[in-house]
């Protein structure tokens, strides 16, 4: 139930971005760090219009947010197996954190 409603909702994100070339990248939250393609990352370069799917792979909650002007968002708490997407519509730097685990930081450079 929960899964379906979030899935349906978030797949609409991609459709609504309007950028045909935009790609969706998956960033996992694993061992309390940000992981892409199996390796821990501290920074990530993406293009305007790209979507990041934040996927929780830890057996506990994460709470990912950004206070950066380029893209302010708060994904709230979500458990293992769930993911949420964010579309990055402006160029600039975005500092992404987890409200629960203070060491979790990811800098996204939107170009």
């Amino acid at each position: 139930m929960a899964k379906r409603s979030t899935m349906v909702f978030f797949t609409t994100t991609l459709a609504m971005t309007g950028n045909l070339w935009a790609q969706e990248l998956v960033v996992d939250q694993k061992n309390r760090s940000f992981v892409k393609d199996g390796a821990e990352i501290k920074t990530l370069d993406i293009k305007v219009g790209d979507v990041i799917r934040f996927k929780n792979e830890d057996p506990f909650f994460h709470s990912i947010f950004s206070e950066s002007e380029t893209a302010k968002f708060d994904l709230g708490n979500y458990p293992k197996g769930q993911s949420k997407t964010v579309t990055f519509e402006k160029a600039g730097k975005v500092d992404i954190e987890c409200a629960i685990h203070s060491k979790m930081h990811l800098t996204v450079n939107v170009k």
Binding site: T6, F9, P59, G76, K80
Partner: protein, 362 residues
């Protein structure tokens, strides 16, 4: 409320609201599964993640040396480090009380209550967040701030920390010890902080019965303690936050203590991280040597480990801002509770008799 901070321009507000409601309603009671996949046998490979590294890691500009740790030990026990000349770090963090003080909340010199429990110093070198609200990233920064005027050792004093440093510089033996331990750095607030940190990193617990069992000694844990470990991981899901290897997660949670219901409750992590979920959230503490440091929780509200387990069995008491990771309805039997307490009693390392330092006089 939460919606205000959400600004995805791709969504309209109605969608957001529907999503937030759907997610909030169905996701909130869901607690992540602790699927640790352990095999509960002494020495089993699946348990190795519980073993702590031999030494707590130290930063490049304060690598461990015996000279540094010994000097830090003297400073930790030296009242001349305080403005009044009457308080030491060990006035609250004393070795015979698991490096805490046995009080519900700390009491400063001249009687003022700090309003927070004194945490243990044990295994802090393995952590990357310090203080109940996580405002310090490492022991060096804590040692520097800990010499400041509002710090606990300076209660009742109007003396500036620089004056304390001048005072210590008059003790020639100290100047010499600093030259030996930190050549060319002098005796400064920074080098004092470094020495304190070097000493604190030596206060470790990693040879408990549990550690010996993880390494393969079958007789190190009783059958009840093994059952308690299993309940700690699976049924009670304590391991959701008290993770390997140091029984903590570098994170902050509101676990629904009664004091959170007070109008003037301590906001905890919220003071550093202005997000609603962090109101009343505090650092997950280590559970190593935990039977040495009663009473428990940041407000000292649990007198015994049994009380702690009873609190979790209720899923917290004030549930207005609970961590989503705090299990609800875990239905622990009386036996489960006793087993978990028995397990926590197996987390204490046997330590050699502590030897107090001799302080340099002049």
């Amino acid at each position: 409320m939460m919606l205000k901070s959400r600004k995805y321009r791709t969504f309209n507000r109605k969608d957001l609201l529907a999503q937030a409601i759907a997610f909030g309603l169905v996701a909130a009671p869901m607690v992540a599964q602790a699927d640790a996949g352990y095999v509960y046998e002494a020495g089993h490979a699946s348990l190795k993640e519980w073993l702590l590294p031999d030494a707590a890691p130290s930063p490049d500009d304060n690598k461990y040396s015996e000279k540094r740790a010994n000097l830090g030990k003297q400073l930790f026990f030296d009242p001349r480090l305080s403005g009044t000349g009457q308080v030491t770090c060990a006035s609250c963090h004393f070795p015979e009380r698991g490096w805490a003080d046995g009080l519900p909340t700390a009491v400063r010199f001249q009687g003022k209550n700090v309003g927070l429990a004194t945490p243990t110093i044990i295994n802090l070198g393995y952590n990357d967040v310090l203080m109940w609200d996580g405002r310090m990233p490492n022991l060096e920064k804590q040692g520097f701030a800990g010499q400041g005027k509002p710090a606990d050792i300076n209660a009742g004093s109007t003396v500036e920390p620089e004056v304390v440093i001048e005072r210590l510089n008059k003790v020639k033996a100290y100047v010499k010890l600093f030259e030996g331990a930190y050549p060319g750095e002098g005796l400064t607030r920074e080098s004092v902080a470094k020495a304190l940190a070097a000493f604190e990193r030596t206060i470790v617990s990693r040879t408990s019965p549990f550690d010996r069992w993880v390494k393969g000694d079958k007789s190190a844990l009783t059958e009840q303690q093994v059952k308690g470990f299993k309940a700690f991981v699976e049924k009670a899901k304590c391991v959701t936050c008290h993770l390997a290897p140091n029984f903590n997660d570098g994170g902050f949670h509101n676990i629904g203590l009664k004091s959170f219901g007070d109008a003037d409750h301590n906001a905890g992590r919220f003071k550093q991280m202005k997000r609603k979920s962090m109101d009343g959230a505090f650092k997950t503490p280590t559970l190593r040597d935990i039977n040495q440091t009663a009473p428990y929780f940041h407000d000292g509200s649990a007198a015994t480990l049994k009380d702690v387990v009873e609190h979790y069995a209720l899923g917290g008491m004030v549930k207005t801002n609970l961590s989503p990771s705090l299990p609800q309805d875990i239905a622990l039997t009386a036996q489960d509770k006793d087993d978990i307490v028995a397990f926590m009693n197996a987390l204490t390392s046997e330590q050699p008799m502590f030897v107090y330092p001799v302080l340099p006089q002049n």
